[in-house]
């Protein structure tokens, strides 16, 4: 999908960041900040907050690059995990309740699997996730939709329940079962 992404050596970049190379941090920013901004914005749904969080993401990378352990995971997913968890912490721990009513109208239903076609496991530098697209397509439509709205949009279980017009108990059980199925399928 992306030639530049294939060429970018994330692990070497993190190593250089750990050795205080500001150029490496800058290269990583040029390479990934736009995509990370998309991921973070989708969760927090506020541009200024997302920009603040991108600052925090890169500062965290700068501070923690020396703790990255290639034997425990892939460098690029490490970077995205930092971004997602900072965004999730913000929406779960922020005292300010974000009103998402107007946003909810715009979001896709996601029961169909069209969105899955955009998943491209080949440029994530890992073989352990090359089945994720197939495994998500194998989920029943409601369950697939729950995974999408939780992971991509950062919605809570009750927000997903409102969104899909389904009882909270059903949403909780769909998510549990999705995780079980995914674990079985992904191995």
């Amino acid at each position: 999908m992306s030639i530049t992404t294939d060429a970018f050596d994330y692990e070497a970049c993190l190593h250089a960041c750990a050795n205080q190379s500001k150029e490496a941090l800058r290269e990583l920013y040029l390479e990934e900040s736009g995509r990370l901004m998309g991921v973070v914005f989708n969760i927090v749904k506020d541009r200024a907050t997302a920009e603040d969080l991108i600052h925090d993401v890169f500062l965290r990378i700068w501070q923690k690059a020396h703790t990255f352990d290639a034997s425990r995971g892939n460098s690029r997913s490490w970077i995205y995990s930092i971004a997602r968890h900072l965004a999730l912490d913000f929406i779960r721990f922020s005292k300010r309740q974000v009103t998402q009513s107007e946003v909810i109208e715009d979001i896709p239903d996601a029961r169909d699997g069209d969105w899955c076609e955009r998943i491209n496991s080949t440029h994530w530098g890992s073989t352990s996730n090359n089945r994720v697209q197939d495994c998500i397509m194998e989920l029943e439509p409601e369950r697939r939709s729950c995974i999408y709205h939780a992971y991509v949009n950062g919605y809570s279980q009750s927000e997903i329940s409102d969104l899909l017009g389904a009882p909270l108990g059903s949403v909780k059980s769909w998510i549990k079962r999705s995780l079980l199925s995914l674990r079985e399928c992904l191995g």
Binding site: K22, G34, E51, D52, W62, R92, N129, L179, L186
Partner: protein, 237 residues
């Protein structure tokens, strides 16, 4: 923590990575991850496998100001780290000193005036330390810190300051031989605050105080991340 809703640690880790845990459970997992290697591995399992879902989202442009802030913060971190490695050379390369703190003599002049004022006022309980916090350019004093004993600091605002929406001012201190600054909490413009500092080592000469602009809830990492608005050092009186 309540674990009955999550029969397996795989599921708990999966819900954490999905983001579906409610606040209390999410906080509990974050706490456990500091020591629980098994849970950390399960979290890594899900992070690695689900991360291609990020492809679904369109990239978004960022203004240049974001990189400028990152660059400043990273520089500050690097200098602080260099300082931590060389505590025996305290005054040369710390990031505090690389900022143009004491360029202006205005604040220093003001400090002297205030010091004389305090000394001449003949109060029975004179403060033993005084700090004038001025803007980094040193042009205008904004706050005064007084410490008359080891338990309490008093922070007084001298002027006004408009805090941008969604931001807060956070008050920090750092002695020369501390590895990192310590937060003394959020402050509001115009506010006079008494801060209990009996858990900190006794105030010392030249100890640094500063006020930075942070997120509304304060710095997310427990260290200053935003720009320095006011800064100054303790003078014994």
């Amino acid at each position: 923590m309540k674990t009955s809703d999550h029969e397996s640690p795989y599921e708990l880790a999966g819900q954490y990575v999905l983001g579906t845990l409610p606040e209390a459970e999410r906080r509990a997992v974050i706490e456990r991850l500091k020591t629980d290697q098994e849970l950390a591995e399960l979290v890594a399992y899900w992070e690695e496998r689900l991360v291609p879902l990020c492809d679904v989202v369109d990239p978004m442009p960022l203004p240049d100001s974001v990189w400028a802030r990152i660059s400043n913060s990273a520089q500050a971190e690097a200098l602080a780290a260099a300082h931590d490695k060389q505590p025996q050379l305290p005054l040369l390369k710390t990031w505090w000193h690389n900022l143009p703190l004491w360029r202006g003599l205005t604040a220093a002049g003001f400090a002297t005036a205030l010091l004389l004022g305090v000394a001449l006022s003949g109060q029975p309980q004179q403060p033993s330390y005084l700090v004038v916090l001025a803007t980094p350019e040193g042009h205008s004093p904004g706050w005064v810190v007084q410490a008359s004993n080891h338990q309490t600091l008093t922070l007084k605002a001298l002027g006004t300051y408009e805090v941008p929406q969604g931001k807060s001012l956070e008050f920090w201190t750092k002695a020369d031989d501390w590895s990192a600054p310590v937060s003394l909490g959020l402050v509001k413009p115009g506010q006079t605050l008494s801060i209990n500092v009996d858990k900190l080592p006794p105030l010392e000469q030249n100890q640094l105080f500063e006020i930075t602009l942070e997120d509304e809830a304060g710095s997310p990492i427990g260290k200053p991340t935003g720009p320095i608005e006011y800064i100054g050092r303790a003078i014994p009186i």
